[in-house]
Every structure is written in C-alpha cells, then in structure tokens.
Symmetry: C3
Subunit: 399 residues, 3 copies
C-alpha cells in the first residue's frame, strides 16, 4: 500500500515539537529527539506532496535571505529550492567575503534586510570560534527588532553551516540512512565510521565530521571517529557525542586508523578536514591581518596532509566493511583518485558504485531545510499539511 499524507500526520501526532514554533535552527544537539523526528517526517511529507503534485506554498509573499560567507553551489541551490517550495523569494545578501562585519553593523544590517524576511539562511564556516557567534548576534538583533515592533515577524534562522555544526547536511545524511535502512528504528546498533581522508586541498571545515558525530550518536548507533593525530575535532563536540551515545544506547569511540573504523561498518563517511588547532591559529592570523602567516600555515598544513596520503577509501578497505557493502557517504564534492586529483579521499571505482546513493543523499537537503522552515513558521503543522492537501492546488498545472 502506498504511503498517504495521513501517515506522516499520524507520525507527527505522536511527537512533541511544540517548542519549534517561531524557533531557530543552530545545532542538532539543541533539539530533542522528537524535534529531529518531526523534521524528518515533515521533510518526507513535503517530498511526498511535491511528488504528488500538491503545492506546498504557504507564503504568498515574503523573502528568504541568504548570506553565504563562503562559496557554495549545492547549499545555495538547496536553500533556494526550499524557500521556493514554500513560496518565499530568495534575496542574497552579498557582504563581500573579506569584510567580516561586527557589532553595530551586524545589528543594523540584520534589521535593515529583514523587514519582510521570514527566513534567514547563514553560512559562516570559515573561522573557528566565529560562525556560530555571528549567527547568534544576527538573530539577537532581529529578535530585538521584532520585540521593538520594527520587524512585523521574527525571521527564522537556518544554519547553513557554521564553525561547529552543519545541521542541514547532517540531517539530510541521516534521512538518507533512515531510508536506506528502512526506518529510524533500524539504526540501533549500526556501526558508522566517520573518518578523516587525505585531500590535496587545505582547510576544509570541521563542521561536517562534527555534525555527523553530533547527530548520528542520537539514534543508538555505534559511531566511530578516526583521524590521524593532530586532526582532532572540537572537544566540546566530542563531549556532545559521548553524552548523546550514552543517552541513546549507542556508543562513541575514537580510533587511529581507517582500518579499525571500517571493520564491519554499516556506514562509512571518509572525508578530509583541517586540524582544529590549525584552524584556531588561522582565525588569529586572519584577525591580525597576518597574510604571510596565513600563507605559511597553508603550506605547513598541506605538508602535514601529505603524511597521511594512505588515508583513502579504497576497494580493499570497503571489502572489510559489513558484508563488504557498507553505505558509502559524502557531502560532495569528493576528491576522487585520478578524477579530480591524483590521490584523494576515495578510489574512483568506489565512488562510481555509490554515485546514485550519493546524489540521493544530497537530494534530501532541500526538504530538510524546507521542513526546518515549516516547523518554525507553522503552529499546527498537522492541520496545515492537511489543509494544503485539501486546498489541492497543483504545483504543476496542466489539463
């Protein structure tokens, strides 16, 4: 029997997510288990409705402001798709990448662009210790503006990647795993290997591995983090992962080789990132305008990376996973051996075999973002989903 919208509504009825209304989305670990499940459920429901040609535009007008302090294609399009799916028009706030606005300026800019903004999506992942803080500062400003009656509505924040977490990515990844394993209840006891991998490029953000260990530990999974010495992630996030694992009946372990991590894994996520300590150092160098120091650090880090070129997701390693068939994951784009570089994160044959699942993984992101917005903007999601079905406006009109 096919799914019906009612099944998603029934699921929502079993969850408590009342606090999400008018809220923001910074970090997955700010959210309760029920709240995470509500997002997965609404994401699936919105996809179901789009596939069944039911329009889900809940806004007749309104803006979704995007602020990308780092280049982005897929997150940019995911945010644009999500806003459009709900009826919002995206307006990009282009600050200039080099100018890091602070203080007075943030407060003012935040309000000036938000008079008709229902959503704010911010990507600010470049500087350890800055991105999350900036998002908070921005949202404090619009919250005050709303209280003072300047803004008629409080825009909702969707964290499109900060220095700590990348929740739209991690949640899309989780929804992919849920679908692959046939339900969130089937994740218990599954082994997930989040491992570092070699890349010839430099300074990739830590928010992906942090987001993954911070989220996957919520579902009773055995999460293993592996990286060479010196590539530690933020200690606070490791603490989060430990606490999550304890609460969910799973585990969070650290190992020092890909081999240990991959052994019998159900899911592998090999991906490069920069050492936390080096990223902290870089933030200071940038703060001091020491560009020679930045350049020197870059060379040093590339050298450091090169000592770990054996950290690659090979066929050999994949064969050691559960039945040799672990689900290979990546946030994309991956550094693929002999395709995008000589030595990279993954062998071409491995990547090729998983291309469809990888693209499918990415396809959940627009829906995850739309669900985050929906749950923040709609007081009674169940009734509103039902009303949208009854309104029965075609997304794509034809006779």
């Amino acid at each position: 029997m096919d799914k019906t919208l009612q099944q998603y509504i029934d699921k929502l009825n079993s969850l408590n997510f009342a606090e999400m209304y008018n809220g923001d989305f910074y970090l997955t670990w700010d959210k309760t288990q029920d709240e995470l499940e509500a997002i997965f459920t609404v994401a699936d429901a919105l996809r179901y409705m789009r596939e069944n040609n039911i329009s889900t535009t809940i806004f007749e007008s309104g803006l979704g402001i995007s602020l990308f302090r780092d280049n982005s294609t897929r997150t940019r399009f995911s945010f644009a798709s999500a806003c459009n799916l709900l009826g919002l028009e995206v307006q990009d706030l282009d600050e200039g990448k080099s100018q890091v606005a602070h203080g007075e300026t943030v407060r003012e800019t935040a309000n000036m662009v938000s008079f008709m903004a229902d959503v704010i999506g911010i990507r600010d992942d470049m500087y350890i210790g800055k991105g999350h803080t900036y998002q908070k500062e921005f949202m404090d400003a619009v919250t005050e503006g709303n209280k003072a009656g300047i803004l008629e509505q409080k825009p909702t924040l969707v964290n499109l990647q900060c220095d700590i977490d990348h929740p739209t990515q991690a949640m899309a990844d989780a929804l992919h795993i849920i679908h692959e394993f046939g339900g969130i209840e089937n994740l218990k006891g599954k082994k997930v290997a989040m491992t570092w991998a070699y890349s010839p490029s430099y300074g990739k953000p830590l928010s992906v591995p942090q987001g993954i260990v911070g989220l996957m530990t919520r579902f009773g999974m055995d999460v293993v983090l592996a990286h060479p010495e010196g590539y530690e992630i933020m200690p606070e996030v490791e603490e989060v992962a430990k606490k999550n694992a304890a609460a969910s009946g799973g585990s969070f372990t650290k190992v020092n080789t890909m081999a240990e991590a991959f052994k019998d894994a159900d899911v592998v996520y090999p991906k490069s990132w920069a050492p936390f300590a080096a990223m902290e150092k870089r933030t200071v160098l940038y703060g001091n305008g020491d560009m020679a120091g930045v350049k020197a650090l870059e060379l040093e880090l590339l050298e450091q990376n090169k000592q770990h070129m054996d950290w690659c997701c090979t066929e050999e390693l994949m064969a050691t996973t559960k039945d040799g068939k672990a689900l290979y994951m990546h946030c994309l784009p991956a550094d693929i051996n002999d395709v995008s570089c000589v030595n990279g994160e993954v062998e071409a044959t491995v990547f090729d075999r998983y291309r469809d699942p990888l693209y499918m993984e990415a396809s959940y992101k627009p829906y995850i973002i739309a669900a985050m917005i929906f749950l923040a903007k709609v007081k009674d999601p169940q009734a509103t989903l039902k009303a949208l079905e009854e309104r029965s406006v075609a997304r794509w009109f034809q006779k």
Copy 2:
C-alpha cells in the same frame, strides 16, 4: 478602536490623485500635496494588511527591474521587499559600475529588459547632473517602446536615488515623523534641522539633504538648513524649498552653525554630504577620465572636511533641542563616534538612545516604494484595496 482598512480607503476618497495612474516617481516636488498623502495612506494600508496577514500580491507574474549604479544594501532590500509584496520578481540589471551607458545604448537596453517589466527602480546618484537625466532618458525610451507596441505595458519608474532627490528615503522619513507626531496635521510649526555633520569619508550624495528640505517644507514645518561654508546644496533645490515653505505656511531658513539649527528643534537630521561644487568638478574629471584629478580632489575634500570636525551631533547639542528630546533621524548607516570611526556624525550615546526609532524610520521604505508602485499600477486603489481584503488570501497560510 483599532484601525480598519476602511479608514485608509476613506482617507483616499478625500484625496485627488488620479494623475498618478500609469505615472512615474522622479521627485517629490513633481507631486501634489494630495498625491503625497495618497502615498502615505497606501503605505500605511499595505502595512496594515501585511500585519493582518492579508496578501497584497496584485501581480501573478511580472518583473521589477533594479538598476543600481552605486552600492546599496538597504535600498536594494527595500525595493526587493516592495516588489515581492505586490507579486513582482526582481531582476537586477548589472551594467558594471564604471561603464556609464549613453544614447543609443540606453534606449536599446531600456527596451530589451522591459518586455515583461512592470516596474523599474534606478539608483544613479554618483554624478551631479547625470542621475536624473539618465532616469528620464531611460523612461523616454520605454514610453516610446510602449507607444510603438513593442512593450505591452509601460513600466513605472521608482527613483531609488538620483543626483537631485532621494524620494523613497525622504518619504519614508516623512512617514516616520507623521507617525511620531501623531498625524500629518500635527507637523505644522514643528522645527526640523537638516544639518551637515562631519564624516571621515568622502563624497556622500547630496540627494538626502536635498530630498529632506524639498519635502519637509511641504507640511508647514520650519525647516532649517545648516552647513559650513562651501557645502552648499543645489541652488534649484533651495528655490524649491523656499516656494514650498511659502505655499505651506512654513519656513525655510539657512544658518551657519549646528547650534542655531538645533535650538528648540523638534526634529534633527545631522548628516554628512559633499560640497555641490566639488561634485560638479568630479563629474567633469570622471568625464575626462582624469583619475589623477579625481584622486587629488578626494584628498582635498577630506582635508576640507577635517576643518569641520566640530559639526557633530553631541549630547550637549541634543540638550538644546525642544525639551532636550528632538527626534534624531538618519538615513543610515551613520558614522558614529568611537564605533564606526573616531570622530563622526553623532555621539554613540545619542545614536544608541534613538536606535529603535531609527530602525523604525527605515522600516517605512519598503512600504513607501510599494505604495508608489501601487498608485501607478492600479486605476482605482480604493476598490482594489477593498477587493484584496475581500479576496482574503493569507500572506502566510496556516491552520
């Protein structure tokens, strides 16, 4: 008793603004008193409707073209918000800032981008003697195009700032004052001080002070313009202000110190601008491609500014205003002492105290722009507002 939409409609019924249909908005002094009041009234009505979740999208499709020949964040977002509120999608025409298009090119480009354009918003404030002329040239081209049957509709111009006036700013400022003083009828006899102030930056446009004295003199207010010698505004605009004051029963005076201007003022608007004569000179230098001359002029002007660092909106000066409580205004961003610069236009404590009113002042701009568009695009605004209320489509749909 709360306001109802009918009250705005009743007000409109008392005004004559029939000429606005299919018109353009270049300068506030092109418009009659009734026409200005119609804009204020529709702006308030649109805000009322948005606050009451009534969609005001009058366009199912159609483009709003924006052309910014100068950087802009708040005007850009105000224009985007206004277009979106009425159902238009913004398309930005990015000419390249350095390339000043003329003649054949303007005529052609204007038509090429306007096949489905209902609105054109142009900001061209950099060169004295050019901006307004360019807007006229652009609109002549599309008016011809419409007459020749090439364009199905004549797009409406909204002047988003030219060399002469900044009408969306001045009108938003006026609406702010109207709300602060409890009605347009209460402005009579109020003293407004439009004064120059020191800024460490260079070449700020004259269109704000010109727009303010050109508009505030319409309401029977006592408008005082103060600036150091050499910072004269365009003489034509001073003439406009004088005539307006005579007609409205107010006054327009020039003084040479902030102290005189602030004394017993009800409203103060201290803001930096460049000397008119220097801006004329700059236009010629740019026209001749004399970049060394431009650079030399810049240094000269910064030096000249420095001789007037005492022109700052201090607590001391604020204390001399009416009851020490004049409404402080600014188009933002302001140069704030010890915040955005060492010495600037205003002391930080003054700015801080007025932050909420300043942001509120800015919040009227999207509605002023939307009202300008509405009145140019709708033949019977009263009936259409009523019909929108009866249509009763939610801006933000939920159950």
Copy 3:
C-alpha cells in the same frame, strides 16, 4: 474580428507535436515543421493571453536554472521573463566564466542544482566544438538522475545559444518575419540575405548566422549566405541548410558580395561573425592555456576584419533590395557607424529607420522561450491553454 484564444488552439489541433512533451530544445533542425509551428503558435497564444491580462503561470513553485558561460543581457532577461510568465523562479548558476567544467563535475553539478529545477537554460557559445557537447552532457546527467529517482522531474533544456545554433534568437527572428509578412504561408519564395558585416570587434559567435540559415530554409524561402572568403560557417550547418531548402521548396545559395545578396531581397540580416577555422584554432589555444597565442590570434583576426570594412549595410545597398524596402534585421546590439563605432555593420540612418521593428523582433524572444518550456512541460497544451483561460486569474489584478 479580433483573434481569440480558440484560434490558436484550433491551429494547434492541426499540428502533430506529441514528441515535444518532456523533450529538450537543442537545435531547430532537430524539430519537425509541425513542432516549429507549435512553438510559434503557443508563443503567440501566450502573448495574446498576457495582453488580455490572463495569467499563464502553470507552476506554483519550481526553478528555472540559468547558466551563462558568456555575458548576456537580453537573453538573460528573456529567459527570466519567460520563466516568470510561467511561474518559475530563476536561479543563476554562476560557474565563473573561465572555469570550463568537465566530466565528473558536470554530472554532479547538473544533478545538485536540479532537485527542484523544471527548466535549464544554458548559453555556451564561446568555443567551437564545446557548447553543444556541454549541453548534451549536462542533460544526460539529469536524465540519468531522473531515471534513478534522484530527480523527481526531468528538467527541460532550452539552448540559449551554443556553438552551433541560437534557436531562441532564430525562432524569435522567424516569428517576427511571420508577423511582418502576415503569416508563415507568405514566406514561400521570399529572399532572405544573411550576410557578414564588418565590425571593429572580434570573435562574435557563428551561431546566429548558422541559426538563421538552418531555420529560414525551412519555410520555402530563398536564403542567400554572403561573406568574405575565410569567414565560412560550419560545413555541417551548410549541409543542413541545403537539405532544408530542398525539402521546403526553397533554396540555399552562397555568394561573395553583399551586393548580390541584397539584390531584390525581402529580408536582410547583415551581421559580423568570426571565421570558423579561427574559432576552432582559438578553442585549441585556450585548451592549451596558450594565452599569448590567443592574443596573437585576436590581433590577426582584427587585421583580417579590417580588409572587409566595405561590408556595411548602407543606404545605397538597402536601395537595391525589393522595392528598396527589405526588412532589416539584427539580433542586437549592432555596431552602428558613427554611433557605437566609426565603421561598423550598418549606417545610422538605416538602423534608425528600423529601430521599432528591431525592438519588436527582440520582443518575441521571451515568448519563444516560454513556448518551448510550455510544450515540453504540458502534455495537452490545447486543453491547458483553455483551462488557463477558464481559470481566469488576472496577471495584473485590479478593480
């Protein structure tokens, strides 16, 4: 008697275009005669509906992705207008002009931006042998993505100009001629002169002349191509033109002077383009990163052009056309003598006399694009047009 929508529907009923549903638009010669006529008919129907204030938005949500690998104003606005007319929001994919993405990257990017994309418009006309290939590669990727269930819909390609054809331009040009001559049936036997003309600039794409001879030969016209030696177009396209002419009962001739081409012509299209062989060479030089070679080639080509400054559309030549009144056409912008350059493609008085028809010619492009999308996205266009008329939603709502 005025046209009614039913007349367009009747016309469609007489045509067979079933294959267009879910299809793409690469080259006009991929399409049957009936399919081309269906596009003209839907373009006219959509224009009729817009002029009669009937909304044609068939999408409540959905994106139109634009990818411009070359600068563009008019095609960019035409695509944006077309998407907006049908209810799609444009999102621009900005790859960076210099970075020509290949292989893995194209496949991945194509899918990543297309999760909610209904239309993809690509302009890639810079490199002979590359543009069309890139479009195919992009579409193969999304077609696979759709088959694998990753993309819920297969986006439709609209070729916004490639190295071979410029179908939205050529189709708009053809619709202009159809209207000027009072019907497609009146084109038979008319003489069209597609001729090279001198321009002081360099490297203009060949896709316009190729598009024109590839399309105009479909309607029984006598198409004459004229250019100096060395300015040959792609031989494959000449073959297409010959076959078309044979099939349609027209002719395709090549001559070596403008005089021969213009003699008794009903339509003239004088326009500069780069020599095919040189463009092939340039592609190789770019491929090898030989920027010195590119620069040398540019100088060589400018010199070569200068030997043909007599190829200009003069009043004298215009006088030799049919009754001295041939329809002058250009894709714009034209190089106009003493206006945009000293010596160019056309004398100013000729251009001036034809300005209105030239702008009208351009005005068809948004409708041609919209028609291409409509026919690919709507299974039963006749019923859907009828339903849109019956839905009777105003494009521009007012009472």
